[in-house]
Amino acid sequence: MTPAAATDVLLALTCALLLWRQGRAAPGLSVALSGIALAACFGVARFSGLAAAAGPHQFFSLLGAVAAVPLLAWCLWAPSSLPALQPRAAALVIIFGGAGGVVLVGVLKLKIWGLLMLLSAVLLLVRAAWQRRSMSFWAGTVLLVLGGVVQAAQPVLGSWPAVAWLHLLLSAGLAWLLWPRVSQSGST
């Protein structure tokens, strides 16, 4: 198994574990995590050599970047908002935000839209971390931001490709962000 596939397994398992821990307490976060997990599952197949998984992996990764991650950030910033509490609202963000984003970035090559969405997510996470003043939340936010930087800069770090580091940083970031939060509050 390649490092990219192995780290995508880790990302998928992290999302699955967080989904299981949350149950139905935070529907918005669950929808966002499901989107990221789906992309990770296709990534495992793609990086294990299944050529047919390349397109779906790109599609769902893009969907994750332009809709799922911003939704996750929004739900953490505003846990009592409609997208955080109502599965239908969260699904609408993924369907319309995701489809629109995929077309803008993947088809029309307007990469600025993807960057804007990620920047918005980072700003929301930083604001949420500032409000909560929790070390684990700050650590998770920093790890996710680093993941974004690695994805944008594509640096060569040891023998692993940049995408493997992205998966690793995302897994660690999500775990730091969501695991303590769930165990502390039990719900949003």
Binding site: P56, Q58, F59, L82, R88, A89, I95, V102
Partner: protein, 371 residues
């Protein structure tokens, strides 16, 4: 791009409507009203006009997503690809349709189809003229799997065509078919505004999706279905019918204190976030019906026949027209449908003999049952 196949199927639909109206009259069933049926047809023509303008964009987006992200190169001539695609399309359709009822922005478009208080084959043609741009995101999964655009378009047409025959009161219950497929019985429930009918039976071909996702309701013999919507727009003008709910949403959202509340209006369910569908009593329910003088009725029938011919011709020729030609022709059809609607409502008359019969001083004349 090929012209819409609906244009070729329209003569068959019109014949089927005439036969159904004849059967209904023979059985003494009040399933038809001429103004309502004509309005349904006019809604259908506007819908086709919109498709000639927006369909190109929607199919282009689907094709672009297919080219960029498809997993498999599925053959277009294999039967299993077609069967699989129709099933997958029907699954997506279930969710489009469900969101179409549970999200105001899409309901504003889809309510047109439910606005008739009659239930007959003409209701099947009463389609929205604003829907194309709202539904495409739900079908992108098919492009990612690798369903070629031609097969996708074919499956969409099959799904649409199947749904025509289920809009009738002339076919009763069909036993086990009612529990597997969408049939007239379970689709009557879908068009009802009784408490037990609201947000039920969304399927296109298979009703199994509703049984799977908990939205199935069986038709109740003891509680006759009352067709229509809870907030009727009471008009025969298809242009007004297409935009009336958008206008209401705009007014409601502008009255909200924050932009987040305004968004919640557009993307919320018709009854409001977290609210249950309120109970409604239909003991004194009366269908929307305006008394129309026989002469006006005949005049509208003739104009509607001309509009039918013009719409079919336009849909067949649209692909050869430049955008300016499409917009102009579409605008003329829109205007004509609107003018016929105004005449049916008694708010306008073409012939001086009927000028005195304009709405305020119109003499009530018992409506006829059939066209």
């Amino acid at each position: 791009m090929q012209p819409s196949p609906i244009a070729y199927a329209l003569p068959v639909f019109l014949l089927a409507i005439a036969v159904e109206a004849g059967v209904a009259r023979w059985r003494g069933s009040r399933s038809y009203s001429l103004p309502d049926a004509l309005t349904s047809l006019h809604f259908g023509y506007l819908s086709e006009v919109e498709r000639t303008l927006a369909r190109l964009l929607v199919i282009a987006v689907y094709a672009a997503v297919y080219r960029t992200f498809h997993a498999f190169e599925l053959p277009t001539n294999a039967w299993w690809v077609w069967v699989g695609t129709v099933l997958a399309y029907d699954f997506c359709y279930y969710w489009v349709h469900r969101f179409g009822h549970e999200v105001n922005l899409i309901w504003a478009s889809h309510q047109v189809h439910h606005s008739s208080e009659y239930f007959n084959l003409s209701t099947a043609l009463r389609q929205t003229g604003t829907g194309s741009l709202l539904k495409w995101p739900f079908y992108l999964g098919l492009a990612v799997i690798g369903v070629p655009p031609t097969v996708f378009a074919g499956a969409a047409f099959i799904d649409l065509l199947y749904q025509v025959w289920v809009h009738t009161e002339q076919i009763g219950r069909l036993g086990w078919l009612d529990r597997v497929f969408v049939t007239p019985s379970n689709h009557r429930v879908h068009h009802g505004q009784n408490d037990y009918c609201i947000d039920r039976n969304y399927g296109g071909i298979l009703i199994l999706w509703d049984r799977l996702f908990g939205t199935y309701a069986d038709e109740r013999a003891a509680e006759p279905v009352v067709y229509g919507v809870r907030k009727p727009f009471h008009s025969y003008n298809p242009v007004w019918g297409n935009f009336v709910l958008y206008r209401e949403l705009l007014v409601a959202s502008r009255a909200q204190p924050t932009w987040r509340d305004a968004l919640a209006v557009w993307f919320g369910p018709p009854q409001g976030w977290g609210a249950a569908v309120p109970h409604a009593d239909f003991k004194d329910f009366q269908r929307f019906e305006k008394p129309i003088p026989r002469g006006v009725r005949r005049a509208c029938l003739v104009q509607s026949a001309l509009l039918t011919a013009a719409s079919v011709y336009y849909v067949l020729m649209a692909t050869r027209l430049p955008w300016s030609g499409r917009l102009l022709s579409g605008g003329v059809i829109l205007l004509a449908a609107s003018l016929i609607g105004l005449q049916l409502e008694g708010r306008m008359a073409l012939h001086p003999r009927h000028w005195r019969l304009r709405a305020p001083d119109i003499t009530p004349i018992p409506p006829e049952d059939t066209p």
